[in-house]
Structures are given as structure tokens and as C-alpha cells.
Symmetry: C2
Subunit: 136 residues, 2 copies
DNA sequence: CATAAATACTACCTCCTTGTAGTATTTATA
DNA sequence: TATAAATACTACAAGGAGGTAGTATTTATG
């Protein structure tokens, strides 16, 4: 029922960056602004770059900048990179082949909620979340 | 987005027992029927007994039996014992004081789903789930 | 009373997540 | 060209979840 800490961090960083999508941010700035451990963030950012959300500039005055497709980056695509989206398709009781044909006791109760949340994450984009006035 | 393995086990055990609520089950029987590790189950059951879901009979021919209030035992009360229900009230991004007044970027999207699932777990009882034909 | 079969307890092991530390590499600039 | 400031890489440490193992305790029964 929770995101991993790493997913929380990733979403917060990217939403924060999306509030000033043209700006370049150093890891140190993000660390100080968002209260995310510096070294941990320094390991997360390259994976977000590899995933195609951001791009790094090396050397002095370097940092990270959002890619221009950020308007279409969904929460699901972020979770997918960090945690994986598997749990949003799987049985809540862990049965491999639970489904409409052979449901577990919770299947009919849980399925609609799980699907609704999955669809939510697949629909909401960084742009949707980048409005000011939110706690980041 | 997942229950812990231990919660999965606890729910499966209790739903299975609720299908024959008068019967007494040994840990070994439950282990073999439900494919839950014997020793792990042997540690889980006393905690379910302490929580008031089941009662143990010691010695030869002993085992566990559901208590008579099982009809009113909710999924939430089981999760509460094993995992805790805290995450069903907390902010999805981990903000301590996220709320309607000072929402995080996901608060308005996530809150309704989180609340709906919490209500579901607080509503569904072992009796509701004990119907036959389910995969246990 | 001895034995068998059951729960109860305690210690340990492994893996994953989170976080920390140090060092290498890259690049702007005085 | 030397320095400073940034990312990149790699190893390690702490803690919790899941699982294993062994032993103690309880009790029915021959």
C-alpha cells in the first residue's frame, strides 16, 4: 500500500524539477531543497537519466535538466523504473494464477481498486502535478 | 501496493479456517494444505492467537480453532495485527503533515483510493470470504 | 509412567532496501 | 594548466522481512 522510499524520492525530485522545467539543478541543490540524502540521490539521479526522464551535464556548473517530453511522463513510468509496476497487476494474496476464472477470496473485492489505481498512475503526468502550492 | 507475505499468510489461514469454523487444525495440516512454511507458520499462529482470532489447544491432539467472533473479524483487523494499518492513513509521498489544507502533489488523486481501500478492508469479514470455490 | 504429538520459544541466516563513504572522472574558468 | 565544482562509480553498513533450525513445554493415551 506504499511506494518505496526511492519511488517517493524520484517522484518528488521530478515534480519539483517540473515546476521549473527549463532550469538545471545540481544534486546538492535538490538534496538541500528536498531533504533527500545527498549520496542516495547521487545514485538515484543517474538511473532517472538512464530511464530518459532527465539529462546530465558533467563538469563544473553541471547538473540535471528535465527532458522536453516531461509533460507526458506519467507516475506509472516513474514507478516502473524504480519499483516496477508488477504489483499493480498481481493478486493481493500472491496467487500466481488468480483471475476472474479462478478468483482468490479477495479478487472480486480488490481487483477494481487495484485497476483504478493503476489507471490513475498511468494517467497523471508530471505536468499535472507541477502546479505550485503543493508541498514538495 | 502489496500486503506483506505474513499478512497474505494470515489472511489465507484464517479464511481457510473460516470455511470450517468448528474444526480444529494443526500447524502441520495448515502448512501442508496452504503451502506455507511450517516453522514460519508456527511463529505466526501464536500471534494470531494473542490477537484474539484463534485459540490454541496444547499437547497431543492439540491445534488451533477459530473463536466464535470470527464472523465479525475484518481484513483490516488482521492487517492491523501483522502489518499495521498506518499506511492506509498516511501520505503516499511520505509527508508527515500532508492533508487537505497542505496537500502534496498526489494527495487529491491518491486520497480517495486510499480511503476506499481502507473502508473495504474495514468492511469485509472472514465470513464474507469463507464461501467455497475460492482458491486458498 | 513413557511416549508421541502438538504448541511455544529463541536464536540464527539470507536477501533486499535504505543509506553512507570514498574515489574517479569530467569540464568551465581564472 | 591548475583548480574547483559537478556527475559517476563502487564498496560497505544498518535494519527489517522472510525463512530455517533446534529445543522446551504441554497433554492425550497405551
Amino acid at each position: 500500500m506504499k511506494l518505496s522510499k526511492t519511488s517517493e524520492h524520484a517522484i518528488r525530485v521530478l515534480v519539483y524539477m517540473a515546476q521549473n522545467p527549463e532550469e538545471q539543478f545540481s544534486v546538492n541543490t535538490l538534496h538541500e531543497t528536498l531533504n533527500i540524502p545527498f549520496k542516495y540521490l547521487g545514485r538515484l539521479m543517474p538511473s532517472l537519466a538512464e530511464a530518459g526522464f532527465i539529462v546530465a551535464t558533467h563538469g563544473k556548473n553541471g547538473g540535471y535538466r528535465l527532458l522536453s517530453n516531461y509533460e507526458f511522463v506519467t507516475i506509472a513510468s516513474i514507478i516502473d523504473v524504480v519499483d516496477g509496476m508488477d504489483s499493480y497487476s498481481e493478486c493481493i494474496l500472491g496467487f500466481e494464477n488468480c483471475g476472474d476464472g479462478k478468483p482468490c477470496p479477495l479478487h472480486n473485492h480488490w481487483g477494481p481498486h487495484r485497476d483504478a489505481i493503476k489507471k490513475l498512475w498511468e494517467t497523471v503526468t508530471l505536468k499535472d502535478l507541477a502546479k505550485r502550492g503543493f508541498k514538495i
